[in-house]
Amino acid sequence: MTKQEITEFELETLELLKNVMDPEIEINIVDLGLIYKLNFDGKDNIDIDLTFSTPSCPLGETIVTSIKETIVQKHPSFCVNINVVFEPKWSTALVSEEGKKLLGL
């Protein structure tokens, strides 16, 4: 895979993850700015740096499971590695323009 193909795949995966909604806020995790990094190795590994709006988010485990299930449903042979990070701390500045619109900001 070329670098450009990898980048395109990563963007496609991010689009796919817009289907994962936070049931409390009712906005997808991508527009909420919870995904800090998404790397595809060009073969079958996806590494994701993910954060939560609060370190002890009661939905943390649920969000992780949902991301894995969503990717694996489309790419069954893929291995999804999720690294939960709290640096930098999530803030409302990370919400996308689309997310802000959905929140009525």
């Binding site: 994962v20 009661p58 649920t62 939960v84 709290f86 803030s91």
Partner: protein, 436 residues
């Protein structure tokens, strides 16, 4: 996966019995209000009113709080509950003790039943305190919010200890002061030390979480902590040892100062909130926070006034208790039930389906229509009682009591709707979205 603490959440069977018992207690409470009738306008220490107060603070409020706290401990302390088995034993023992205690008061059996009921209640609450205390010892997160929670639990134990001493005194008669003196300490520590501190500890964690607001000044919570606890400590020392009436002026000032810092913290959170529209749960919660002023205005009035008729003063003291138990605590619990219980049930029912199929939203587990009607009738109850107590109008007390019965019925409908929820599969919507 650092920071993922949901595995710390206890099994749902630890939580739901508390909500069921609390909801039924609210129904019992409303029925007792109707039966108590004109007793509600008499001296605040009459047996019916004391029975109602105990079913309200222990059967209703504390039971729901215990259930919610077992679920929230992983969030506030970032550790698992010390023992789920102990929590289950505590529930059954507390449930029995609350009913035994309230019955003892209702029938006025101060010598033959109350001392035993009170010891049972003390022991059951001691089990709760031990469980939470040992959990706190293992906590990875010790900040001002978790300190508020553990301190409130300490004050709960002191409250119960004083209550038990008063109850035993009815049989063994060993105290030097009249019962009303100790009753004042028992009630003040219970309402401020247990409930208000707990509300601040849990509220300062949950409200910014639900409103999605960040970069809040936690120093305000530190000031609140020291001022309120300072006020309570001075109160205990003064009322037990020094007994100087001048010091009584200082106590509400310190406590009000602390509460103002908490309100200021919540106001910052409200101003910085990402989520603009408040759902029914948050509407209740914000109203409760606003109502926190009322009891402190009344206590200031009680401390400063000396020239009112005794009957009016009794009703004002009842109104003081009413404003904390209903204006603040019940309003907050009614709201936070709709924020916490749907999630607890939803996570339990849909955890294994996450990402595989479209699931309902947590808020779809209860009827929002019923919750909205409930909030309107709840206002009728509050308004009727305020008029009834201040103007000595029994007819308004009756209207209010029946309104609370309707509120309790609607609340029970929603609680049982959530608890008996059956897993539903949904077809994916047009966008293919599936919610986590």
């Amino acid at each position: 996966m650092n920071g993922l603490k949901t595995n710390n959440a206890p099994h749902i069977s630890v939580i739901t019995p508390h909500f069921i018992f609390g909801a039924i207690s609210l129904l019992i409470l409303a029925v007792l209000l109707i039966l108590a009738d004109e007793n509600l306008l008499q001296a605040y220490f009459n047996t019916k009113l004391i029975a109602i107060t105990h079913i309200a603070v222990l059967g209703w409020a504390s039971m729901i709080v215990f259930g919610a706290l077992y679920q929230l401990i992983p969030v506030v302390f970032e550790t698992a509950l010390y023992s789920e088995k102990l929590a289950k034993v505590t529930f059954w023992f507390s449930a029995f003790s609350v009913l035994f205690l309230s019955y003892s008061f209702w029938v006025g059996s101060y010598v033959s039943l109350l001392p035993y009921a009170s010891v049972c209640m003390f022991l059951s609450l001691l089990l709760f305190v031990v469980n939470v205390g040992l959990t706190y010892r293992n906590a990875t997160l010790k900040n001002v919010k978790s300190t508020f929670v553990i301190t409130s639990v300490f004050w709960l134990l002191i409250t119960e200890l004083i209550g038990t001493v008063i109850a035993l005194n009815f049989k063994f008669n060993f105290l030097t002061e009249i019962h009303l003196h100790y009753l004042k300490i028992h009630a003040s520590i219970g309402l401020i030390g247990w409930f208000v501190l707990l509300i601040i500890g849990v509220g300062s964690t949950l409200i910014p979480m639900f409103l999605i607001s960040h970069e809040l000044k936690e120093k305000k919570l530190n000031y609140a902590y020291y001022l309120i606890n300072g006020g309570l400590l001075i109160a205990v020392v003064n009322w037990f040892l020094i007994q100087k009436s001048e010091i009584d002026y200082l106590i509400p000032l310190l406590i009000i100062g602390g509460v103002l810092f908490f309100i200021s913290f919540i106001y910052d959170s409200y101003k910085k909130r990402l989520r603009k529209k408040l759902d029914v749960g948050m509407q209740y919660s914000m109203l409760a926070i606003a109502a926190i002023f009322m009891p402190f205005i009344i206590i200031g009035f009680i401390v400063l006034s000396t020239s009112f008729e005794v009957d009016f003063m009794f009703r004002i003291i009842t109104f003081y208790g009413f404003s904390i138990i209903f204006g603040l605590i019940t309003t907050l619990i009614l709201g936070q039930t709709y924020k916490t219980l749907p999630f607890i049930i939803w996570l339990d029912k849909y955890k294994k389906l996450i990402g595989k199929t479209k699931t309902p939203l947590p808020r779809e587990l209860y009827s929002e229509k019923i919750a909205n009607i409930q909030i309107i009738i709840y206002f009728v109850f509050i308004a009727a009682f305020v008029i009834g107590l201040l103007f000595n109008q029994l007819v308004f007390i009756k209207i209010g009591s029946y309104a609370l019965l309707v509120v309790a019925f609607l609340y029970n409908v929603n609680i049982f709707k959530m608890i008996t929820h059956k897993v539903k599969f949904k077809e994916n919507d047009e966008t293919g979205n599936h919610r986590i």
